[in-house]
Amino acid sequence: MTAQNHPPQNNKSNSNFLEEVSEKTAGVSRLDMCIQCGTCGGSCPPAADMDHTPRTLFAMIRAGMRDEVLSSNTPWMCVSCYYCTSRCPQNVLITDIMYALKGMAIKEKRYKDSTAPDFSQSFIGMVENYGRSFELGLATRHYLMHFPMRLPSMAPMGLGMLSKRRMGITPPKRIQGMDQLKAILTRAKELEVD
């Protein structure tokens, strides 16, 4: 996506990017408290696979580098192990900030690789329809779309999971309060936009 396609409010809010990210974080992000010590990146198991370490990414957020931050693979590589969060001397909610950045990247379609966003969206599609997750449906769809070449080496595992009744063939039973859940989620989505 090119720069002129951005919604106008995003163009002028580059300098407030930090506030915007904080606003989208579940708790009090304390992102403005980051002292650039790098404990996060040093603690991060998948750091080697990231475009930017969390420390670098936070410096970029402060610098208002909106495009670069939202298209970085860093949040998508996060495994949510909370090492960074529990070690951060400033108690920055690093993992939750990564979630916030993923959500923003999805809304503006800035991610470079669609594997992770597609997986998240397939997963919540199941949940929004059944109220429960459904591993076989999710895995089959996801593998055919993104990892067809992995299927042969996956076969023993898939067969094992099926034969040991650890994965069902039929979708899960819908929860009884499906209408209630849908009403809640619809209202939540409306409130999110406000």
């Binding site: 579940a26 192990c81 969060t85 594997t115 949940v127 094992g160 809640i184 209202r187 939540a188 409130l191």
Partner: protein, 328 residues
């Protein structure tokens, strides 16, 4: 009698069937009353949080709202899965930490006629209530068949002891709860340095190389410490280490064979219960040989074979533990 509102989570009915069966077999002995939260929904795992903040927290909080409505005589919610536990704890904590956020979540819940007062329930993981509400001494009294001679690597995974909003765990990086429990069962517990490292979570679906490396580190460490089995407290950890162990071996050309069990399965064995009722045999990496080493017969797991390596010779590659077996 300790009474709890139980949140099983989606995987207890499928992937973690062994956890579910073994928990059902032992919980009465522990003096537990587990009342399932009626019509609970999926917590959204780590996926919903990545997409939409408010819907994600509303999804989680519906469970808390249902639980608080149902609560009769208890305010403790217990989850058996680490990810479910963390999500429920997150909603409980952040709704209170940022009241305006909590109010928005409640506004969404109101559309379904529900409401939740942040902090009105306590959220616990199963291991936490076993250690802290039942206690090690009581557990020792229940042991009739000590797991003497079984070398166990305790693996807690990452989402339990971190971020630990309510200070429920002894340490964020090296908590001792699982070690103490397994010692009480009579097992020989390894001082396992990767106790709270990450199993890769959903990365098996997104960036397989990243996940396989994390799985390899854990399994190879347990192997180097000569563990007979590795013990987990979370369906996701068990799934990654057990079900993806074959693919990890294939990826790195290794040949690890590390059985991954749930702590509740070993509790059942130590309490002298029928192994058939404890979900043995559901694992993809068979645990029956390891258990028979200490004279305990459990149903064997049929193993599906991974595809063979086409060539065993070629360019020189760095040596990995377990290579020797593959080379034949």
């Amino acid at each position: 009698m300790n009474k709890y509102l139980f949140y099983p989570g989606c995987s207890m009915e499928s992937g973690a069937r062994a956890y579910d069966e073994s928990l059902k077999a032992i919980y009465k002995k522990l003096g537990f009353e587990l009342e399932e939260i009626k019509d609970w929904n999926c917590c959204g795992a780590t996926e919903y949080l990545s997409i939409d903040l408010l819907p994600a927290y509303s999804l989680i909080s519906r469970n808390l709202a249902l639980a608080s409505k149902q609560a009769n005589g208890t305010h403790k919610v217990v989850a058996s899965c680490s990810a479910c536990f963390l999500n429920l704890a997150k909603a409980n904590h952040y709704m209170a930490e940022r009241p305006e956020f909590g109010e928005k979540v409640n506004e969404a819940l109101a559309a379904g006629g529900l409401n939740y007062k942040p902090g009105s329930l306590e959220v616990h993981h199963l291991l936490d209530v076993i250690i802290n509400d039942v206690g090690i001494e009581e557990i020792q009294k229940l042991v009739v068949k000590p797991l003497k001679g079984l070398r166990v690597a305790p693996y807690l995974g990452c989402m339990l002891a971190r971020p630990d909003y309510e200070k429920q765990w002894s340490d964020h990086e090296y908590p001792t709860e699982l070690t103490r429990l397994l010692k009480a069962l009579g097992a020989e517990v390894i001082d396992f340095p990767l106790n709270t490292h990450c199993c890769g979570g959903h990365m098996t679906q997104i960036s397989p190389g990243t996940a396989f490396e994390l799985i390899r580190q854990l399994v190879s460490a347990a192997d180097q410490y000569k563990a007979d089995v590795m013990v987990t407290v979370c369906p996701m950890c068990q799934m990654n280490l057990d079900a993806f162990q074959g693919e990890t071996n294939h990826f790195f050309h290794t040949n690890y064979h590390m059985p991954i069990l749930f702590f509740t399965q070993l509790m059942g064995i130590a309490f002298g219960m029928d192994p058939k009722k404890l979900g043995f045999g559901a694992e993809l990496v068979d645990a029956s040989k390891a258990m028979s080493r200490i004279g305990i017969e459990v149903p064997a797991a049929e193993e599906t074979q991974a595809p063979k390596r086409k060539k065993t010779t070629g360019l020189p590659m760095p040596k990995m533990p377990g290579d020797e077996e593959v080379a034949s």
